[in-house]
Symmetry: C2
Subunit: 628 residues, 2 copies
């Protein structure tokens, strides 16, 4: 396969927060080669366009395009003449900025004339004036343009105008949001007329294109639009200019510019892989979560050990050279790390006792590390003692580590770093079923890219979970043919369990670990015998459950006696699960039994769980006469 | 005019945050007479339905309706039989809860049959079973129902079923969201078939009805749907049941339940006025802002006095009995209140130096007080000295006071409470042009109701203002034929100027006061001579201004030299305005000149102002070579 050279990357200043110098600095340090100057960022800047050019030169950023006005074409006089005068003044600015390309979007002006030949004549005149200064003009169809909303209409105007200094700008959002595509572009448009390309993804939302575009755009790979096929079509038509990101997103505007810029560059690296332009090391096969590691101090290690022991975990090993304990129940492993001067210690200082790492089982850790590096994620290797195994780790967006463990039929290498003291009693645990993370609203899309571009996880459909104090939005990312399940929860409200967790732990990430068991009823009985702090579920829940699923009385009694929650999917798959109260308001545990191919997470029961947790945390159990 | 008795008020538990007991308590203390039990609130509750009934009895709340299931009608067997069994179990619950009415929404089940006669037969059977227990059933068309989405279709089913225990539930959202109305209901539906009414408003959004309904409903008067004509039509058709609010709103779910419940009751009081059912004291004429009052201590009074003196304000009086100063410039008045044991002192303790009151000029303060009382807003009267004037105040949602000053041609009464020391020099100020408030996201709708229902202000179209660190949404409320202008700003991001203000002041409200001047250029020159901390505006802004409006070079130079911002509307109205830097990051001032009927706020310039403020606050002026 012939690999074509990478196309230059570019990003619009409107994607990033801060002042213009902040934005340029963030784009450059993320590795972008070009920048689109959005006019508002120039107008609010207290230096000259020449200052901007010099800053860009210092940062090795090309000014790929300037987008200084709207509503240019097909206006009646005297606006037409005034618009051409205005263009001349903008050409001055472009020359001072050091860019040769101006972007003009299709007019939304109510007075614009519905005459392609008039628009063409205006653009011919503009392009002619531009070319006298060595500048070029490109025309883009806005999805809500008054007379031109599709790229074929914009092309019709450009074709009629017939000027070498005039070409097309394509924008994936404006085309894909209308359900349109680039079909036929290679046949109809000569490559030299494809001046510029703006790339944006978006979630599928049923709202007007204008609001959708202005508030909800995302980087490619973060949304649901077919951006890769769009790019492939354009490349096949001979496009050879920059790949430029133009994202209007309320959260990006408010987020730290460096994180957003890095995500932007990653999205382009990923996109070039998707179109076969610049392959990355392929995603290895994932086969589950080998262990979850907690950052603790000695006190928290004791308390946490006691907490998990009520679910049947036993300490089975101590690390050969570090203050690290291994706890185990069947095939579920927990690591309690209180070693000073480690990544865990750093995590503990920032977040208190919390999960600092997840270990994924992978068939080729080295290849995944190479992929992470290509996507500019940072790699971490813990300091190790002589003869101990080195486990590579990748930093997740919140700083948590993802360790990569070589999948093996035999006893895995990392266990050799421990003095194994005891075998875990078999509490029936089959492994770690899923690990849910709570993230602040502005972090979700960084995670989406991390999970999807790096690990190839696929997003499940989203759920709204009604906490008593606000909605929690939840979306699970699934990999390894279902053996890796990572729900991501986010809440705008600081009063929900999710919101409280995020502020209490400074965004520690993991707030819920679910263990897979063979028999939930048995597991509950064993846990109850160990005085595990299981959540009480109200009788009303079981009343309704009986009515909803037509369960037999004895099954209902079995569930209700054990405070087991129950769900059943359309094809008869069943989920039985039980929750613990939260450990110091920081995280909680779950035991789940799946049968019949049930693939969800019992989302229908989430509000029951959240209300029960809140009641337990606040000690506000209702003491009604009939309820005892 | 015959005034009919008020209809009983009711609210659905889903409108409010917290546990079921919290919700009942909030609804009762707001003054509701009835409650709709949303099933999820019962399922998550750890007492029995009988406990709920007793709590409601203790709180004088009738359980108006229970809404325990969906997808009932027109299902093939065996689901049909199972659904009827399920209904029996829900009837048990209803009887325990003490309600006789069950709500069933039109089915969204993919397997539901498209046969109105089947649906009618199922409902006949259900109603028959219900009536044997003295219960009733009502059927509601969901806007996204599979086969029944309009009330006329639901009525068709109810009519065919022809059972006295079966009737209709109407919902303003489901009808109005589809652009439908109740036209013909009086002719077609006998009053005894109108069992129940759910009321909800919403903003006009172009999105699918399901998302719109689940996340964006509002109380009547907070949105844009024609809820009052809807209710009028239903009353004309003979509806005599409760007015029940059913609002799904993400912010309400997260807000304190008592505030939301109070707003809900207010919305019904207002709605009954709108339909002429229970008139309120009419809204008096408003004619502007008489003064703005700051809560300060002695130190802040000195610093703030100095700050406003740079805009030409002078201290013209001291209060006869309190630590209160009056500052004046022309017709603009500022009051600096450092009196201990006052509303201002309380405000100062909570928010630091900030605006604690606005005084509106009103032609009938007593009538407005009576209206406020009828709408359950609280009234405040400051402790006064002998012979001093008593000014009634109304508490705004954030605790700020709105004083009501009798409009008069002569010198107003309140001035007599001051020893007037000097007349204000005429700095050309014509008065207070507008006062902008910054509120946290969850507070906006409380303000909308306060402004609209109590003062009759009308909302202007909303604006998105791009702060360098996130979007600020702004919407102005206008009254007194334009002489009262109150923009309301809100930002999801804590990093914007608005967000920072809200956290720094604990939501003090007012963060920007604009004074109307005759001649902005003169006002700037005078302020500059007094070393007022006016904001620097970048040269790039004036470059673009010239290109955009085709301004003459000398006008441009005039503006640019003075850092005056400029806007022009479609009909040639012009706005010239200038901003100060912020006072201790807490608020800032503006001087504005309006001509030719300009009615806006220069929103197009907001991003320029916000970037300049941020630059000034951070001391990060760009020191480029050409920029000095």
């Amino acid at each position: 396969m012939t690999v074509s050279p990478r196309l230059p990357t570019s990003i619009a200043t409107v994607c990033l927060s801060g002042t213009l110098p902040d934005k340029l600095e963030a784009a450059s340090s993320a590795g972008f080669e070009g920048i689109e100057i959005f006019e508002n960022d120039l107008l609010t800047f207290d230096g000259t366009p020449g200052d901007v050019r010099r800053m860009c030169e210092d940062l090795d950023l090309a000014v790929t395009i300037f987008q200084p006005f709207r509503d240019f074409e097909a206006m009646p006089e005297p606006q037409r003449a005034r618009n051409l005068d205005r263009a001349e003044r903008k050409f001055d600015t472009m020359q001072a900025l050091g860019t040769d390309l101006i972007l003009v979007c299709s007019s939304v002006h109510p007075a614009a004339l519905p005459e392609p030949e008039r628009a063409a004549a205006d653009f011919h005149e503009m392009a002619d004036r531009a070319s006298r200064r060595g500048l070029r003009v490109c025309y883009e169809a806005l999805a809500w343009g008054r007379h031109v909303s599709r790229w074929r209409q914009a092309w019709d105007v450009v074709r009629r105008a017939d000027h070498p200094a005039l070409g097309l700008c394509l924008d994936s959002f404006h085309t894909l949001a209308l359900g349109d595509d680039l079909g036929g572009i290679a046949a109809d448009v000569p490559p030299e007329k494809l001046f510029f390309l703006q790339l944006a993804d978006a979630p599928m939302l049923s709202m007007d294109a204008l609001s959708w575009s202005r508030h909800h755009r995302l980087f490619p790979g973060q949304g649901e639009l077919p951006v890769a096929p769009f790019l492939a079509e354009l490349l096949a038509a001979g496009y050879a200019g920059p790949l430029s990101l133009e994202i209007f997103n309320d959260e990006f505007r408010a987020a730290p510019s460096r994180r957003i810029a890095r995500d932007g560059l990653r999205s382009l690296v990923w996109l070039e892989e998707q179109v076969g332009r610049a392959p990355l090391p392929a995603i290895p096969a994932l086969s589950g979560i080998e262990f979850v590691e907690f950052a603790v101090d000695a006190e928290a290690a004791g308390a946490l050990g006691h907490f998990v022991s009520t679910l049947g975990f036993r300490r089975v090993g101590r690390h050969r050279s570090k203050e690290v304990e291994l706890w185990r129940n069947g095939d579920a492993n927990l690591v309690l790390n209180s070693e000073a001067d480690s990544a865990a210690a750093e995590h503990f200082i920032q977040h208190g006792p919390s999960v600092c790492a997840l270990a994924f089982r992978v068939d080729d850790p080295a290849r995944l590390v190479a992929r992470a590096e290509a996507l500019h994620y940072s790699i971490w290797s813990e300091r190790i003692g002589a003869g101990e195994s080195s486990i590579p780790g990748i930093r997740a967006p919140d700083g948590t580590l993802i360790y990569l463990i070589q999948e093996t039929a035999a006893r895995p290498n990392w266990e050799n770093d421990f003095h194994l003291e005891a075998e875990g009693q078999d509490g029936g645990m089959l492994g770690i079923d899923h690990v849910a993370q709570a993230v602040p609203p502005g972090m979700v899309d960084s995670y989406v890219l991390f999970f999807r571009a790096l690990f190839g996880l696929t997003p499940d459909s989203p759920w709204d979970l009604p906490d008593p104090y606000g909605l929690v939005r939840s979306r699970a990312f699934i990999g390894g043919e279902g053996c890796l399940r990572l729900p991501l929860n986010v809440s705008e409200s600081g009063r929900t369990g999710t919101g409280r967790f995020v502020s209490a732990t400074a965004g520690a990430g993991v707030h819920h670990i679910a263990f897979l068991v063979r028999d939930a009823a048995k597991a509950v009985d064993a846990a109850a015998a160990r005085a595990a702090p299981l959540l009480d579920i109200p009788a009303n829940y079981y009343e309704d459950l009986g009515a909803r699923f037509g369960l037999a009385e004895d099954e209902l009694a079995m569930l209700s006696r054990r405070h087991l929650l129950y769900d059943r999917d359309a094809s008869g798959g069943v989920y039985r699960h039980v929750y613990t109260a939260s450990y110091r308001d920081r995280f909680f545990l779950e035991m789940v039994e799946r049968s019949g191919g049930y693939a969800g997470f019992g989302a229908a029961n989430a509000s029951i769980r959240m209300a029960a947790q809140r009641r337990r945390d606040s000690g506000a159990d209702f003491g009604g006469a009939e309820s005892s």
